[in-house]
């Protein structure tokens, strides 16, 4: 099975595993209710690197513009490759940060302005985050503040650790797919 860059930190955090689209993903970290509660009232962190990602030369419906002729297409597998696009699923890990305190955590990791005015829902920005070049996409889950953080896979474990460290004061917790499904993600 395919393993994300965060397989080992998840294992240490006590992940219970499940299979999703050929990937070994964390279903939960033992207590789905607790993970949901943290996501709703504080902040929770999930790995959704299994999402398919393409770099497309032309914009597509729902794509994110990264630069001229560089558009990010991202979605649940199976997602068909747009014409002329390069599959970058393996290149980027995707970390999802959910919860009202997620902006406070981001403020400790990046100089980018993540205020509601500067980075509203559906904004896509690029900045250094925890010392790694990152693509930050704000995509709220209903009313719940949520950010997708894309970093190249080699930085993923380091960035994951840094986010957990920065979120310690807000009692950040890893959250598995079961809780994420519960949030309607």
């Amino acid at each position: 099975m395919k393993r994300s860059a965060l397989y080992h930190p998840h294992k240490i955090a006590g992940a219970l595993w499940a299979e999703r689209h050929g990937w070994e993903v964390a279903a939960s970290f033992g207590n789905v209710e607790r993970e949901l509660a943290h996501a709703r009232a504080g902040v929770a962190l999930s790995d959704i690197s299994y999402l398919r990602k393409f770099e497309s030369p032309a914009p597509r419906p729902g794509s994110w513009k990264l630069a001229e002729k560089r558009h990010l297409v991202m979605g649940e597998p199976p997602l068909e490759a747009p014409p002329g696009a390069l599959d970058i699923t393996s290149t980027y890990s995707v970390i999802l940060m959910t919860g009202p305190r997620s902006r406070d955590v981001l403020c400790k990791l990046t100089s980018m302005n993540v205020s509601d005015k500067a980075c509203g829902n559906l904004a896509c920005k690029q900045a250094s985050l925890a010392h790694a070049h990152s693509i930050v996409i704000r995509q709220d889950l209903g009313q719940l503040l949520a950010y997708k953080i894309l970093v190249t896979r080699d930085y993923a474990e380091s960035v994951w650790d840094s986010i957990l460290h920065a979120g310690h004061e807000f009692h950040i917790t890893p959250m598995g797919q079961d809780a994420l499904d519960g949030l309607g993600a």
Partner: protein
Amino acid sequence: MSFKFDGQDVPVQAGDTVASALYRSGQRIFSRSFKYHRPRGLLCCSGKCPNCMVNVDGSPNIRACVTPARNGMVVRHQNAWPSLDSDALSITQHFDFLMPAGWYYKVFTNPSTWHAVEPHIRKIAGLGEIFENPQGIPDYEHAWMHTETAVIGGGPAGIAAALEAAAKGGEVVLVDDQPELGGHLRYQKRNASALDDQIAALRSQANVRVLQRASCFGLYEGNLLGLLLANPHEGAAERLIHLRAQEIVVATGAYETPLLFDNNDLVGVMLSTAAQRLINVHAIVPGSRAVIIAHGSQGEDVNADLRRAGVSVVATVAPEDVVAAKGFGSVSGLKSKKGTFACDLVVMCGPRVPDAGLLSQAGGKLAWSDARGAFAPVNLPANIFAVGDVLGEFSEPLPRNFPDSKRAFVCICTDATSRDLKQGIADGFEQIETLKRYTTTTMGPCQGRMCQLNAISVCSRDTGRTMNQTGTTTSRPPNPGVTLGALAGAKHHPIRRTPMHHAHDELGAVWLDMSEWKRPRYYNPNGKTSESEGVAAEYRAVRERAGLIDVGTLGKLRVRGKDAAKLLDKVYTNRFSDLRPGRVRYAVICDDAGTILDDGTVSRIAEDSFFITTTTGNLDFVHQWFDWWLAGTGWDVRVTNVTGGLASVNLAGPKARDVLRKLTDVDLDTKAFPYMACREARVGETSAVLLRIGFVGETGWEIHYPAEYGEQLWKALLEAGAEFGILPFGVEAQRLLRLEKRHVIVGVDTDALTNPYEADMAWIAKLDKEDFIGKAALSRAVASGALREKLVGFILEGKEIPEDGAPVVEDGIPVGRVTSSRYSPHRRAGIGLAFVPPEKATEGAPISVRVNGLLRTATVTLEAFYDSEGARLRQ
């Protein structure tokens, strides 16, 4: 609640600072002065002067008067021996005649003398020492904030400005360095209910964030403010906040500074605002008999506060009538022209100074006004505003009758007196900036707050210039000081890991840091293998059987588009437009001067699709280099960095084909899959790109495959190779193996000036190509025929190995240098690469190399040390 001070328990009340708890418990001496070790007590009580600096939990120079007292903290005095009350080093003040202003510039002109005495001077005249904190090194963190309006200062003016800005609807951040808002109204209790209403109004605004106990230490370009927040949450010592604001309102107010008279530093001589803080904030009676020094009605408020607290105010003396404070260590009286008054407290109503440092840093100017008795800010830049007392709109003329005395302290941080300043001016340092450097006045921990005005006054009077002509010293950030821990931030260094990182850990990898990457240096599977044993075993496996190395740190780029070959022809020195799909070519990038910048491989996957590898450290550079040369061309080329998405291994050795055959259907026979060919194929459960290349000099394949299968295929290859005796090998074995093949590493065996001819790679520069970066310079180099030096191989006599960088010597003069050297098991001798003069670059020429301080003879070779025909690579 209590804390320890020099081993004694000190009880703590709610709201106490370390200083207030100590003062309440009877402590009056808080520190010893920097040079003369004179006892010093509370002076400002607001975190501005140096007098209450102590060591808290191992950290030195913490101001007790603004540090909240916490249960169990360990507080120690500093710069006194054996104790604060009786400091043996206070004897130095009796030898002050030996140490006038600038004395060390005059006495220690001989460097050897200075080096002999410097450690002693540092010991005697130091600030605090660092002790180990029993709780370990605290956590520091950084944070970034953005706002429309930042208001610095939470006094009445700052609160009013924040409310006004908030009413306009913008986002406002109010920064205040005190535990409570209110500024001087906190300790000068006037109109308190109106203040409470304003604070309540402020807190009810959703668009206002209030940062308390946050000091603003600098204003930088682009309206960036540096803030330091103490104890942001449990477990964190400090948070450094980078606050960017569209407009900044400076409402930092004004602070009181000392008056200049004999013995003005005695314990018990304090500023009126300090006495008011003790009385009105901490409910402490500061003394029993007080004398107030004040102009006219200036002292009425503090007089009322003192009387209310039960202090007997025996006299109010005008500053011009003061002669000297009396007392030995602590004040026992004040001598004035109108008589001597016995007292244990002297309260100075000193001149107020606008706290305008941030305005100066923003580019504003300060102009003196005699009527106001202050330097006030003028010419503020756009989007910087000042409100309240920082504007210096007082009417308090400055006292000008200070004595020239060796006990009238201008700079209490470094014990510089008015006489020292006079001496400095007499020595020719009559500009305030040079006088500052000569006497160290304003250069201590208070950063000029307590002394700048007095120093300028003395300088102005003694040079006969006006205050404006004298000017001010420069305010530079950080002010106040910032701990190094706060600047460093969180203990989180970025680490880049390959997909097999944890598999290497399981195999006992000993790690090597290569920039942010972690790479196995060698493997120590049983915990007992030395580096030399491990490397020898890994070397033998590759030469005799099979070895597997993780090369995932190589930079990897996909270059696609119909003009891709055109771009590669432009940036690389050799040709790629004629490279057939399915073939690989070694590639070198040069700059305009013909200097080698990077090397790697270029594989043509399809007509308009290339797969490129770069060296580990140069990926970002190469990517930018491509983008740079693409800019404005209009060519159809897309460059994508796929480094993180690919796991990469090199499987090499005489048995490599047997190992790989077990996992793939692709025909690996050398006729079907020759040296320098590439194929896309399935290996194990994944798709992969296979490159038949040989950095280590054996039959081998570089396999690039999706990172999510990283560990799986790595383990599958090791399992498939177990029957052939495969071993994983690390960077050290790889370096030895490639050196035997005389393969260079760019940046190790080349330097910032090396061109391909000097690196003995003339074949790589295709000067018949229409154009490429560096062609002009390389053409000139060929035409002139002049080489600076040339990279050659050498074989040493004997087994000693020179260090990298060891000199190549001719007639006692260094003429070249070794770039890499190892013991070669194949040649049973030391081998290496070295730059030598071009005339020495001939087969068999003898050279001398310095090894461990002795000259050793070596023989030059232009051949590879191992398999110079390359037969094994092509098998």
